[in-house]
Amino acid sequence: MGEVVLRDVRKRYGDFEAVRGVGFNVGEGECVVILGPSGAGKTSILKMVAGLEEVTAGEIYIDGRLVNNLEPHERDVAMTFETYALYPQFSVYDNLAFPLRAPRHKVPEVEIAERVARVSGMLGIGGLLDRLPAQLSQGQKQRVGLGRTLVREPSVFLFDEPLAHVDAKIRNRMRMEIKGIQQQLGCTSVFVTHDYVEALALGSRIAVLNKGELQQIGTPRDVFESPANEFVARIVGDPPFNFMLCTLVSDGGARTFVTEDGLCKIPVPMEVERKIGDRTGQHLKLGIRPMYVTPTFSAQEGPLVRGSVYVFERRETRGILTVRVGETRLTAMTDPDLKVQIDQAICLRLDPDRIRVFDPESTQVIAP
């Protein structure tokens, strides 16, 4: 119940191709998050699954049925939108009951009462059923909006950036609760967001989208640790992925990555050496996550990069150290109490097991 399949789906608005041959599956009970910047085409995809937009080419199946030509109400999906648009004249109860009272659903009042009680309990708004939207806080309105989708008990839930306009503290809390609800209900969901934290937290798999094209689909672990290209590497993680343009140099045996200005020499790690092939003399882009970069003050041997402190910022549980290395800036995640001065000389150690190599032209990952 609730399996969704997209096959080579395309969407064109006039001359503009918003979605370009996207295909993926959402298994029963799975939550797939479509992650991408604004304009990537993610809402277009969601609307095509919902039936609110026509498919230009390709197929969409829900529960094994081809739904391309089915109206939204024939598809057994429910969608939440960015703006929750509650009916101001209806109480919370009536807002929640509204979708079930629509003529085509004809749910008996007794069952409506049961579902509203269950959903409002799950969302922690059971005590607010008599209130009008004007009497609710932002967070409470968000929950009622979500509740209106949950009461429908469809095969597939579609979420269109439901947390976009919410303060950080409320957003984090609601994200956690949404995950809890999803796990309790075991419902199939497709969730659209530009926020990578939501994608990592909520997705059993993440489909990364850019300019209408699927970049990578994988578990949060896959997308975080093994990004398929530069775009995926950059979109997930904070501080973002570090990149350094280097030349692959061979000095009789061991090969090294050398930065443009010749200041940094990083030996090619074993795992990378095996995959990289014969590219000696070529330009390559080295990448590594800040959590795998550590500052060190002693001039020891090893894969070290030398630079000077650009700025140090404290976060709650860690520090973010930005180091100027020639023309580039690299970031390292550090102890929050690190003491450094601006322009102080410093070395960074890169964890060789976490270095990834990208082709500067195609931006695809080459190794490991």
Binding site: A168, K169, N172, R175, M176, K179, G180, Q183, Y196, V197, L200, A201, L202, P220, R221, F224, V236, G237, D238, P239, P240, R289, M291, Y310, V311, E313, R314, R315, E316, T317, R318, I320, T322, M333, I342
Partner: protein
């Protein structure tokens, strides 16, 4: 360079008391954040410092000068606001030069300063371009450049990064911090974003409903919040709170949770400071980073519950545990093996707990 002193500063809009007799002493060269939710009075305070809002009562001093009646332009402050308002027909170079030209500075001096500022802000490559031709990030730096080029006494920032997308925001934070550290210009930065204040400030003043709740360094405010408002406002995920009574467990004092009967040991370090609060119901707070979860019962486990949800967020994880119906959030490594419904035992770092009086909301441990 300047110190700023606010003495019994009031602002009333008709009957509404927006700022209620606050006192602040900002040091020379300090990066000072005024932090609080919307409506707390932070923007009114900043506007009075700038001179663009009248003062109802009280005094504002810059060093030894009472500035209450001094027009904004005479106060030598530079304001960086949300909209950076660059002059579209002027090049970056001309935009940067503008404040100095307006002051009638000599051409040679202006060129020198523009070059200096362009170098610091990485704008050398775009000096001859117009605002419409450069990236958002560059535009923000030009805006900052226009502020710093005058070498004002004071920088005032009113939520300058509110409507900036998160990537640009992150980059700008670093730039603002770096600039301030290089120039050591006294800066007052207003924001509602606690993580921003914590990252940038030398000291923070937390405001709510027109009053200062606490002023201190990020460390002080984070580890020793004076009351429940500050404790709950700073840090994300926020403090976890347990209402407890104090019991004697075979000679050892412990906090016993009112729900669920869990026990958290009272460390000696705080026992003395608690004095006669020991006979009341107290609200004990622990930050998410000071709780360690285990899927196996440990000897020193103090609280137990079941896994509600685990969110793996790449660099770290957030584990939410259901403890007798309340949800407790814990920061963990990005991998955690527990599944919803699994029993989990929690160890609390007692040396890090904070204790509040639920009636007065004050921190019982603050002297």
């Amino acid at each position: 360079m300047s110190t700023i002193a606010l003495r019994s500063l009031w602002k009333k809009y008709g009957k509404v008391e927006a700022v209620k007799g606050i006192n602040l002493q900002i040091q020379d060269g300090e990066f000072f954040c005024i932090l609080g939710p919307s409506g707390c009075g932070k923007t009114s305070t900043m506007r009075m410092i700038a001179g663009i809002e009248s003062i109802t009562a009280g005094e504002i001093w810059f060093d030894n000068q009472l500035v209450n009646d001094l027009a904004p332009v005479k106060r030598d402050v530079a304001m960086a606001f949300e909209t950076y308002a660059l002059y579209p027909p002027l090049t970056v170079k001309e935009n940067l030069a503008f404040p100095l030209e307006a002051r009638g500075e000599p051409k040679a001096r202006i060129n020198e300063r523009v070059e200096e500022v362009a170098k610091i802000l990485d704008l050398v490559d775009v000096l001859d371009q117009k605002p419409a031709q450069i990236s958002g990030g560059h535009q923000q730096r030009v805006s900052l450049g226009r502020c710093i080029i005058r070498k004002p006494r004071v920088f005032l920032f009113d939520e300058p990064l509110s409507h900036v997308d998160s990537e640009a925001r992150r980059k700008m934070r670093g730039e603002v911090k770096r600039l301030q550290q290089m120039f050591k210009t006294t800066s007052v930065y207003v924001t509602h974003d606690q993580s921003e204040a914590m990252a940038l400030a030398d000291r923070i003043s937390v405001m709510n409903l027109g009053e200062v709740q606490q002023t201190g360094t990020p460390n002080e405010i984070y580890h020793h919040p004076h009351n429940l408002f500050v404790a709950d406002f700073i840090g994300e995920p926020p403090f976890n709170f347990f209402d407890c009574s104090v019991v004697s467990d075979g000679g050892q004092l412990a906090f016993r949770t009112q729900v669920g009967n869990h026990r958290i040991l009272v460390p000696n370090t705080i026992k003395e400071r608690m004095g006669d609060s020991l006979d009341r119901v107290l609200r004990v707070g622990v930050r998410p980073m000071y709780i360690t979860p285990s899927l196996v019962e440990q000897e020193d486990s103090q609280i137990h519950g079941t896994v509600y949800v685990f969110e793996g967020l790449g660099e770290e994880g957030v584990l939410t545990v259901d403890v007798d119906g309340s949800l407790i959030r814990i920061l963990t490594e990005p991998d955690f093996e527990g599944k919803p419904g699994d029993r989990v035992w929690l160890n609390v770092d007692s040396s890090r707990i904070q204790v509040f009086d639920p009636k007065t909301t004050n921190n019982v441990l603050s002297c």
